[in-house]
């Protein structure tokens, strides 16, 4: 625990207080006032962190020529009731990439006997070590720790792949080349989301773009964290931190914190060396993913605050937390605000609308422009920006439910059960439709008032600001709903996928 980290943490939550005092209108809505300003502060802090990381990442480069890597590698592929053919294809890719550098361990927690028998016989034929657990204690982290306990001292390095991530030839040459420095605990290589067969999947990929191209690059050598797959670890360090953290559902972040606070460094090499990343195809799957990630990160707040991380490391991790806070509960405040003002006439903020428009407007324009310029070297662009924004609104209920679950001190997030048929398509976006109706109603009311009633310049300004926000949110939610309802394409032939990879 470090004083400066705690101070910074507290400052973010205290910073809105003076603004609240200065702009407080109706005392009953003080929570909404605070929420809006906290959201503003959080987004400013997030953007500052993002921009600093972007600048830092541009300067980071890795050597192009390195000694032929030595040291035996163990590869873990944890799986649980996955489609056996997909697992087998992944194992084949790994075997081809690994060459004779080590051994592959399939950590199979599957419960279905037919899957178990298929995988077992494949492993037997190909010399892959098959490990099966009866209990699923600790889930993925538990499986990894179980595997780790079986490794003997011959293995210096440990690579981890999810079943939907296939290394390309060159993966190990690249990853292993960076272990000359004994301080390096792990090397993360990002996955390439190739299976984008729906609009939601496409949006989810765009959403990852600033994170994978800028944030993680900037966090290399400092706080680049394990993404759950596609990383190579130094076994010694993993054993030193006691393996993977089991009591947090995103074991990757929690384990990374433990590694970083011990002074080890991690690298992030942004090269397209993994393919076949499966992105959630529909809203339900997307919700499950976002819900999990958010819940896991919320769980990490304690470890982050208690850790001995340096301030810059803390800043990066805390920004991660703020992101989920912003996209969950704080988004609720933002959505509520125009509705509360326009429909209920709640005077939750009292300030000169012109001042607000000038101050906030210029901040918003600057940040959007800087943001778009920071992703100009990727395939992002304005289209990506719209997809990204829209899909974050789609994620909002899932993230918010994760926040509630964490607040109620549950061990696992609320269960989202995917259903078949139209329910699967429509049910998850019902909240959005509801919000959309309210926002449009609010905007309509506001416009109506503007046209026929209001003449007081301050009131007109306030209505304009709120109508703007209502329409802003409504636009992205509408785009999100359209994405959610768009049909999912059939599986593409391999050639199309490889074309896309070459475009990348």
């Amino acid at each position: 625990m470090r004083f400066i980290n705690l101070l910074f943490f507290a400052a973010v939550f205290i910073a809105p207080a003076p603004i609240v005092l200065a702009t407080l209108g109706d005392i009953r809505f003080v929570w909404l006032n605070y929420g809006i300003w906290l959201s503003t502060v959080a987004s400013a802090v997030l953007f500052l962190n993002y921009y600093l990381l972007y600048r830092r990442g541009r300067k980071i480069d890795y050597p192009l020529v390195a000694e032929t890597p030595k040291g035996r590698v163990a590869v873990f592929v944890p799986t649980f009731n996955e489609e056996p053919q997909m697992v087998i294809d992944t194992l084949r890719s790994i075997k081809a990439a690994l060459k004779d550098r080590g051994d592959i361990y399939l950590l199979d927690d599957s419960t279905k006997p037919e899957i178990i028998s298929v995988l077992k016989s494949f492993c037997l034929q190909t010399g892959i070590k098959y490990i099966h657990r009866e209990d699923r204690r600790g889930f993925k982290a538990g499986a990894l720790n179980h595997g780790l306990s079986l490794l003997d001292d011959r293995y210096e390095l440990l690579a981890i792949f999810d079943v939907d991530q296939r290394p390309l030839e060159g993966f190990f040459e690249e990853a292993l080349a960076h272990f000359q420095d004994p301080k390096v605990a792990f090397v993360q290589i990002p996955q390439l989301y190739s299976e984008t067969r729906s609009e939601i999947a496409k949006a989810a990929r765009y959403q990852q773009e600033p994170f994978l191209r800028n944030i993680m690059r900037g966090r290399a050598f400092r706080s680049a964290f394990f993404l759950g797959s596609g990383a190579v670890f130094r076994v010694k360090v993993l054993k030193e931190v006691g393996g993977f953290v089991e009591d947090v559902i995103t074991e990757d972040v929690a384990t990374s914190i433990k590694i970083h606070e011990r002074g080890y460094i991690s690298l992030y090499v942004d090269a397209p060396l993994i393919w076949h990343g499966e992105v959630p195809l529909d809203v339900t799957a997307y919700h499950i993913q976002q819900n999990r990630w958010a819940f896991g990160y919320y769980q990490c707040l304690g470890p982050i605050l208690k850790s001995r991380l340096s301030f810059s490391q803390f800043f990066d991790y805390f920004a991660g937390y703020l992101y989920w806070l912003k996209k969950g509960p704080l988004t609720l405040f933002e959505l509520l605000a125009p509705v509360a003002f326009l429909l209920l006439g709640a005077m939750f903020i009292v300030m000169d609308p012109l001042l607000y428009a000038l101050a906030y407007g210029s901040y918003m324009v600057t940040s959007i422009l800087l943001f778009i310029s920071s992703v100009r070297h990727t395939n992002y662009g304005v289209v990506g920006f719209i997809y990204h924004q829209a899909v974050e609104y789609i994620a909002f209920p899932a993230i918010f439910s994760a926040f509630l679950a964490c607040l109620l001190r549950r061990k696992k997030p609320f269960k989202v059960t995917p259903k078949k048929g139209w329910k699967r398509a429509l049910k998850p976006i019902l909240p959005h439709l509801l919000i959309l109706i309210f926002l449009i109603l609010s905007a309509a009311t506001g416009i109506y008032k503007l046209l026929y009633f209001e003449t007081d310049p301050n009131a007109v300004g306030a209505i304009i600001v709120n109508v703007f926000w209502a329409l802003y949110h409504a636009f992205f939610i509408a785009v999100g709903v359209a994405m959610a309802l768009a049909p999912i394409k059939d599986e593409e032939p391999l050639s199309a996928v490889s074309n896309r990879i070459s475009e990348y």
């Binding site: 890795y62 050597p63 192009l64 020529v65 390195a66 000694e67 032929t68 890597p69 060459k99 030839e169 060159g170 993966f171 040459e173 690249e174 080349a177 090499v269 090269a271 397209p272 060396l273």
Partner: protein, 426 residues
């Protein structure tokens, strides 16, 4: 010009006589032949009427060369290279210490054997190859791996098995992809010797085997070349040699940059800063490459840089170019990017050479390391890339030597010829 070298592990098996026979047979077929006497006894030189010291001894003693080491007999030129007894061990030692002497020797030898001769036949002393193995600095131009080697033995069991061991050692060192022959001389039972050779041929993978029966008429040989009896087998060997070679053995040189003469002997491999090794397409020439690398490793610390897809290990000191580099070389947008990438690669290479003494950098290979961008003309981008790379490296480490291996698919190597000081085809 083809080089044929006779050698044996011991004396008295008839090497010198066979050399003379072959020279006569080739001359009869209209070829211009020069003999090089590298036997300590100087037998052939004696027959040719050379009584002065050999070329090596004269150069080492600093004498003015008056051509007394060369003579012609029956249209065949004979060059006395060794042949002054055991002093050659000391002479070689002096050559090693005084580079000027070596340069003079190379120049003299090269002019003598290269002026218009079709065949150079070397009579190498027993243990001469041994010496060559130990002194790679002298070996390349004397006995280039592209020469056709003939190992001679008699039909005694011990001689044959010792010869097999010797062949394996030498051919491993040279390049087994070039042809060589095994010859049993003075065979008492021809059929039996042919059987032995048949087995041996599979064992050592020789191109050719020959058995020559014991020839009693040789006992009456007076030393006059025109009285030397002929042998059917040697005639067949001559036919084999004048027919087009099975393996193309060519060297071509960057004539635009450096005078051709300097490289005729391949000595550029040991003196020049930048060398382009042109390998046949389809992964051929890897064995030749290993042998050149082994030779180069005696010159300094060898540092091999290759890309991830080449799994074969050439040397212990190997570095891999990151897969990211592969993306970079396709991402080049303009000629500026080419300079930048070349310098970057140069920087990286310099970094790994920091603690190396007299390094020899070997890059395998051009197709996997050079720029491959649709931005600009292929030849221009490659030339500019390697020119910049070499300049950057040699400006920072003048003692450095750089070897680029280029696999000759779609004639991609030729345009690079004038960027490098010397070009050697494997």
């Amino acid at each position: 010009m083809r080089v044929v070298m006779f050698t044996a592990i011991k004396g008295g098996v008839g090497v010198s006589t066979l050399v003379l026979m072959l020279a006569k047979a080739l001359a009869k077929r209209g070829a211009k032949v020069t003999l090089v006497d590298m036997d300590v006894t100087g037998y052939i030189s004696g027959i040719a009427g050379i009584h002065d010291k050999g070329l090596l001894a004269q150069v080492v003693d600093g004498e003015n060369l008056r051509g007394t080491h060369i003579n012609k007999v029956d249209g065949i030129q004979v060059l006395k290279f060794l042949g002054d007894g055991m002093r050659f061990f000391d002479d070689i030692e002096k050559l090693r210490r005084v580079p000027d002497l070596l340069n003079k020797l190379v120049a003299e030898y090269s002019t003598a054997v290269s002026s218009g001769y079709d065949y150079v036949i070397i009579d190498a002393a027993p243990c001469f190859l041994e010496l060559v193995l130990k002194n790679p600095f002298i070996s390349y131009w004397l006995t280039p791996p592209a020469s056709f080697r003939i190992y001679v033995t008699d039909d005694k069991k011990q001689s044959i098995s010792a010869t097999i061991r010797f062949i394996k050692r030498v051919e491993d060192y040279f390049t087994a992809s070039y042809p060589f022959a095994v010859l049993i001389n003075k065979a008492h039972h021809l059929e039996k010797s042919i059987e032995v050779l048949e087995e041996l041929r599979e064992d050592v993978e020789s191109t050719l085997t020959l058995a020559i029966p014991f020839m009693p008429e040789l006992l009456r040989f007076s030393g006059r070349l025109d009285k030397l009896p002929t042998s059917d087998q040697i005639e067949a060997l001559a036919d084999f040699l004048v027919s087009p070679p099975h393996v193309e053995i060519v060297r071509y040189f960057a004539e635009e940059v450096v005078p051709k003469e300097k490289y005729e002997s391949g000595v550029g491999l040991y003196t020049d800063k930048s060398i382009l090794l042109v390998a046949p397409p389809g992964g051929g020439g890897t064995r030749s490459l290993s042998s050149v690398l082994t030779r180069l490793s005696h010159e300094g610390e060898l540092v091999v840089i290759k890309n991830q897809f080449i799994e074969r290990r050439f040397y212990s000191n190997e570095f891999i170019v990151s897969p990211r580099y592969n993306f970079l070389r396709f991402e080049i947008k303009n000629i500026n990017d080419i300079y930048r990438l070349a310098k970057r690669l140069g920087e990286e290479v310099l970094r790994i050479l920091t603690n190396k003494r007299r390094p020899v950098v070997v890059l395998i290979n051009e197709a996997e390391l050079g720029p491959e961008s649709p931005c600009c003309d292929v030849i221009t981008q490659k030339r500019e890339f390697w020119r910049t790379f070499l300049r950057h490296l040699l400006e920072n480490r003048p003692e450095l030597r750089v070897v680029l291996v280029c696999e000759d698919t779609t004639e991609r190597c030729e345009p690079l010829g004038n960027v490098f000081e010397t070009v050697v085809r494997l």
